[in-house]
Symmetry: C2
Subunit: 205 residues, 2 copies
DNA sequence: TAGATTGTTAATCGATTAACAATC
DNA sequence: TAGATTGTTAATCGATTAACAATC
């Protein structure tokens, strides 16, 4: 892999390629082409070739890409050739669903704890987890050296919690609260706000 | 509003502006500037002015934008100056959380039904809803003239359900299943896949 | 070999930013 | 009036596409 800076827009497409390739592998396929992969994910073949070639020469002229090989490379590039421990903050309906979500399996993530500041929820069982007090959160995260958090608290609490997560050393936040977060440059945030996603489509109706 | 085509990337930012303005209004603020709004959402002032000016001259030199006025305009542009009925397909943990989600309130959406093909779930109560059989889904959607669906079924079922939704006249799908969907051009899809979002950040860790 | 498909270059297309006249 | 901030233009920057030599 070379060292020139990769545009964020390319990084954003890699997980989509990875997901499609994983599915192809599950179906028992061995090779694919930029053309075929492009049809699956709705992206042009030229762009897929260009994106992938940022990281090396992973294909073969005439035959395309070995699915297993490309999977390995993409996992390595995206650093999901390992399992990341993740914490959930906020034990409401959404936190509940996220903590129990089976879709992290085989994708590089594992939920290891769930926190809430509501004392009536602390100690409650959620799937395999016991809800812990937000008071112990910073310590727990720092001790366990956890780098990723999912935030499912109300918008009014989200910025405060985000500040604590940053203070605890978290470097990636998946934010389910419907609010933009201010965090330092070295911390990444991704937003999941169903209303925002829907509003992006109603424009076209 | 003029008629020239608006780039999708601009459409995608409008809901973020809307959300930030709604928050400012809730805090009792009356006016804002492209500068201030930009700091809230992490977008340059120039870009915000350019985006907004695609739709009209909504600001005043020297004073900025009236928050209430801009809210009205953005709601109108995004067509959320009304309430859209939405169906949920898939009554698992995620469908459960989505159906009960309070965050659609005041954002233009209302969940009106939830479907599942698992007969053991049909008839079950989820919040204010009773889970209905997927068999009646197409009819129900067509009769009620529903245009928006949220998809929270396993990846293996998602394409089949999407085909049915399209057939029923749905024009916007919020897809929680971890798979790319093939739909006709006139149908919009937005993707929520927590693993994909997380993988977009692990690259930088 | 003939056919297929990559990796890469150059051309095109589109988005962002900087700057400032207009004006509240 | 003086200061602030918009809307817009032109310049810059970045992303996508088309095309094709290289080669499996």
């Amino acid at each position: 892999m070379n060292t020139k800076k990769i545009p964020d827009i390319i990084v954003g497409r890699l997980p989509v390629y990875l997901r499609a390739l994983q599915r192809m592998a599950d179906m028992g396929l061995k090779t694919t082409s930029s053309q075929e992969l492009g049809e699956h994910v709705g992206i042009s073949a030229a762009q897929i070739r260009k994106d992938i070639s940022q990281f090396g020469e992973f294909g073969k002229q005439g035959t395309g890409y070995s699915i297993e090989f490309l999977l390995d490379k993409l996992r390595e590039i995206l650093k999901v050739d390992r399992i990341w421990d993740v914490v959930v903050v906020g034990a409401g309906d959404m936190g509940h669903a996220v903590a129990n979500y089976q879709g992290f399996q085989d994708r590089g993530f594992r939920v290891v704890a769930i926190f809430d500041n509501d004392k009536s929820k602390v100690g409650m069982k959620i799937g395999n987890f016991v809800v812990e007090d937000t008071e112990v959160m910073v310590d727990r995260i720092r001790t366990a050296d956890i780098k990723i958090a999912m935030l499912s608290v109300p918008a009014s609490a989200a910025q405060d919690v985000a500040d604590k997560l940053v203070q605890a050393g978290v470097r990636a936040i998946l934010n389910y609260a419907p609010i933009s977060l201010n965090v330092p440059n070295q911390v990444k945030v991704q937003y999941i706000d169903p209303s925002t996603h829907l509003q992006r489509m109603t424009f076209y109706l």
